[in-house]
């Protein structure tokens, strides 16, 4: 075990996989960061510091600094993968999915099925996502709802440094395209990460972050920490919560959610995306369909409102879910008669 920041867990995992497998290549804007400058070639090594030292170690063929051209980055990741490489593409902010949706949704996601199973497409698309530091409407969004809705794409939302490592290694070794939604606000989070160079976490297996009998809180990404804080606060009042960290939203660990709700009879779904057609509504529907008989109260959703992400500090905090909002939702399920 080593204590690592989330961002370093990501960097180290990619680095190790590049050492292990010469098919792994990295591409994205400023992943070298300094090409064509006096201070280059590597001046920054990725704006999130998730590719520092890569260029020196692996050179320009495998560490591809791209112009500002998200469609080309996404499409090239698809082409590299179809041609036998294992690209790890960085879309600097998940919001820029808007620029390159076709190459992800109509191309990468569909190859394997549309080509009758004759191809694999082992592309990893890293998309730093989420709100928390007032980056406003076009640099703060949660996009899990779009990508989870895409048949063919696996979607990962690591909530801890260890998970970032184990899930990313799984993503790189996986034969299907994976959208890896790393939360920008978690980059500086530190935690124990296994040293084992083959440490992977299989997809579709949720993590029980807290255990309790009274209510089930389902969360992903940055929302997991908020849910844990809420659960800890509630525990001081004698209310016990299961906190289920989904880890991957596609495939979804339905069993973990349903097993928990069968015991608690109360469910609160926390989601950083707007409330319609989202993980929150999807999981609420799952529970209504498959755990109806266990429910003691209506399912509660804690989500932002149906608006873009606002800029001002006061507005962004009002927009985002919070531990207090989650705890209030849990209490509401407990007070239901």
């Amino acid at each position: 075990m080593a204590k690592l920041m989330y961002r370093d867990a990501i960097r180290n995992t990619i680095f190790q996989e590049m050492q292990r497998d010469s098919r792994v290549v990295v591409l994205g804007e400023d992943v070298v960061g300094g090409m064509g400058t006096a201070g280059g070639p590597e001046a920054i090594g990725g704006i999130w510091s998730t590719s520092t030292g890569f260029y020196d170690a692996f050179g320009p063929d495998r560490v591809i600094d791209t112009p500002i051209s998200e469609s080309a980055i996404m499409g090239a990741a698809g082409g590299l993968a179809l041609a036998g490489k294992r690209p790890v593409a960085e879309i600097m902010f998940a919001d820029f999915i808007g620029v390159c949706m076709d190459q992800l949704w109509n191309q990468i996601a569909k190859f394997r099925y549309m080509f009758g199973g004759k191809s694999i497409c082992p592309a990893v698309i890293r998309m730093p996502c989420g709100a928390g530091y007032n980056a406003a409407a076009q640099h703060s969004q949660m996009i899990s709802q779009f990508v989870t809705n895409m048949p063919g794409i696996k979607v990962v939302m690591p909530a801890t440094p260890a998970d970032a490592c184990g899930l990313l290694r799984q993503a790189i070794r996986d034969d299907d395209p994976v959208v890896f939604l790393e939360h920008k606000f978690l980059y500086a989070m530190s935690g124990e990460v296994p040293d084992d160079p083959d440490f992977t976490i299989p997809f579709g297996h949720a993590r029980l972050a807290r255990a309790g009998q009274d209510a089930t809180i389902v969360a992903s990404g940055m929302m997991v920490g908020y849910a844990e804080t809420a659960a800890d606060d509630l525990a001081r009042d004698g209310i016990g919560c299961d906190v289920i960290d989904l880890r991957t939203t596609s495939p979804l660990d339905e069993e973990a959610i349903l097993d928990s709700v069968e015991v608690t009879g109360r469910a609160v779904i926390v989601d950083e995306a707007p409330p319609r057609c989202s993980l929150a509504t999807d999981i609420s529907a799952l529970i209504a369909q498959k755990a109806f008989a266990s429910l003691k109260a209506p399912v509660e959703m804690v989500t932002p409102p149906h608006t873009p992400v606002p800029f001002a500090r006061e507005l962004e905090s009002a927009y985002l879910p919070s531990p207090a909002k989650i705890a209030a939702a849990v209490r509401k399920t407990l007070e239901y008669r």
């Binding site: 600094d65 500002i68 406003a136 409102p305």
Partner: protein, 329 residues
């Protein structure tokens, strides 16, 4: 140089106002009072002002993530902008947008933009609207201008917008501000045509111009020709590339490790559009130092007032999150 004293003073004041706005933000941001990402326009003032001094309120502009200069040059209210950057309810966008999303539609300022390359198609749409509205009583069209960086010129949206403008003969002007960097990456690496963005636009079938973006007069005189051409119905779009410099980091907090030794000092000494302007107007005895010093003091005071007002301005309340939506769930 066909500008009279008044016009010269006004142009200088606009540039100085942008400079002081940005220099002040650079300081204020260090204290942590201002939230979010801020990209400063310092060093590029002559472009925004040399372009916008020609425009009327019917002409539209679409800006970038580095938008403060374009906004001020197009006439956005200094205090309203500063309050927006401060996240105040009294800001131009009620604190919803912040530095990267300042807009003032009445002024013909259709928005700064957080998405690199997103502006050019929007400008073409505005230009098509101008074309539909037709020429004024002098037979001239209103134009729409897309400001884009050397980085944005690599985006497919920019290419598509240029072609759409050409085939529809839209009165659009693509202003490329080549400040040699897109974030940490050099233009020599990222733009395949190296230091030449105008040739790309030319390949799309447009008339193009090039000028030194650190010299107000070079920008102003060149842009007069560009405008004269695009205002003629039937001529269609044009592009102009300005060679310019950014004095601060890509965003506030950028360590700027991509810069060469002494690069910033050299740029500030040799490529400062305000110094160059002062030197040429005093040299030609069009204005004297005392005139310019008055403008300097005046600009500084306007910024000081805007900051004081922003500090005291009303903050948004949580319920304001739901303003400007047609439905909530």
């Amino acid at each position: 140089m066909q500008l009279n004293r008044e016009a010269l003073t006004r142009a200088y004041r606009q540039m100085k106002l942008i400079r002081e706005f940005e220099e002040r933000l650079h300081e204020e941001i260090q204290t942590g009072e201002i939230a979010g990402f801020t990209h400063l326009y310092c060093g590029q003032e002559a472009v925004a002002v040399g372009v916008c001094e020609h425009l009327t309120e019917r002409d539209k502009i679409v800006s970038t993530h580095r938008g403060h200069g374009h906004c001020l040059a197009k006439g956005c209210d200094v205090e309203g902008m500063m309050k927006e950057i401060w996240g105040s309810q009294e800001g131009l966008c009620n604190g919803k947008g912040g530095s990267m999303h300042i807009a003032d539609i009445d002024k013909g300022m259709l928005g700064a933009n957080g998405i690199v390359g997103a502006g050019a198609p929007i400008a073409v749409g505005a230009a098509l609207s101008n074309k539909i509205d037709g020429p004024d009583e002098n037979g001239k069209l209103a134009v729409a201008i897309a400001f884009s960086g050397d980085g944005a010129c690599n985006q497919g949206t920019t290419f598509e917008a240029m072609n759409l403008a050409v085939v529809t003969k839209a009165p659009a002007i693509f202003v490329f501000e080549n400040n040699h960097y897109s974030e940490h990456t050099g233009v020599d690496y990222a733009v395949g045509t190296r230091q030449d963005i105008a040739s790309r636009a030319e390949a799309f079938g447009m008339k193009v111009w090039r000028a030194d973006g650190t010299d107000f007069f070079s920008v102003y005189d060149t842009f007069r020709d560009v405008l004269e051409y695009v205002r003629v119905p039937g001529n269609g779009p044009a592009a102009v590339e300005f060679d310019t410099e950014r004095f601060f980091g890509h965003f506030e907090g950028d360590p700027q490790r991509y810069r060469g030794d002494g690069e910033l000092d050299r740029l500030r000494a040799e490529r400062d559009c305000l110094k160059i302007f002062r030197k040429s107007v005093t040299g030609a005895a069009l204005l004297d130092h005392a005139d310019l010093d008055i403008v300097d003091a005046d600009a500084l005071k306007a910024i000081e007032d805007a900051v004081t007002a922003s500090r005291a301005a009303a903050r948004p309340a949580p319920e304001n999150v739901l303003d400007n939506v047609y439905i909530s769930y």
